[in-house]
Amino acid sequence: MGNGTSIGRVRGLGSAHEGSHGWWHHKISAGSNLILVLWFLISLALLPAYDSATLAAWIAQPLVAVPLILLVVSVFYHFHHGLTVVIEDYQHDHTRFVLLLLLKYFTIATATLAIFSILKVAFTAGAAL
């Protein structure tokens, strides 16, 4: 984005260039969310029990731990973009800057905690905790 005239700043941000980037990534993550969250809900519903040993043994399988990590990446990426758009639409002064900053910290902190927890459960399931 240059420092030239108004039209100069707008050029390149239309649908053919950088402007569509966020929209497209939102659609990509929407598609993977659709598959991953449906998989998550159906798998949870089909589990025989919900005690910690059953859940840990479930998460310890590679084909559960990996989709679960992919779910965190896809869903958190998607909600980060979604909430960014919501904040940009309704906040117009310095609160916009503060909320966008807090959103970034919130997303990265919760995603890291989620992925670390999945990995820890996956690598220690069955071992004495």
């Binding site: 929407a30 659709l34 910690s52 040993a53 919501v86 002064d93 905690l113 459960v121």
Partner: protein, 140 residues
């Protein structure tokens, strides 16, 4: 900052002045369910995973908040459980509808109105089916 608003200048009228229709309701419901899941859903999901990773005692303390001593869900468990699944299925249905709109389809007034209303029916039916399955399993 370039985007600081001059408060002396009026804002364009918002939700309050329009006649409500299904497509408008679905649009704002999509935002509300998405924002709700992104905040409440994220916190509960991460809390659930980190409790599981902290060991059986921490997990039991987490589960205790949402269940009765019999192991069945309590009122808090039902409110969050049904609230989040209904939010997800609603957001999913209107999200899929949005993928068609993004492709330029479904802008005919009647069809657009029908699919807007359909997202609510789909969400309620899928949520009811999901919970009927869970309750049937826990009782049977």
């Amino acid at each position: 900052m370039a985007n600081v608003r001059n408060s002396a200048r009026p804002l364009s009228p918002h939700l309050s002045i329009w006649k409500w229709g299904p497509s408008m309701a679905v649009s704002i419901t999509h935002r509300a369910t998405g924002s709700g899941m992104a905040t409440v859903g994220t916190i509960l999901f991460v809390w659930w995973l980190s409790a599981l990773a902290s060991g059986p005692a921490a997990y039991a303390a987490f589960v205790d908040l949402f269940t009765l001593s019999s192991g069945k869900l309590n009122i808090v468990g039902y409110v969050f459980g049904i609230g989040l699944t209904l939010s997800f299925f609603q957001h999913m249905a209107s999200g899929v509808r949005h993928l068609f709109l993004d492709a330029g389809a479904n802008f005919e007034l009647k069809a657009n109105k029908r699919t807007a209303l359909a997202t609510y029916f789909v969400a309620v039916i899928l949520t009811a089916g999901f919970w009927a399955f869970l309750l049937e399993k826990s009782n049977g």
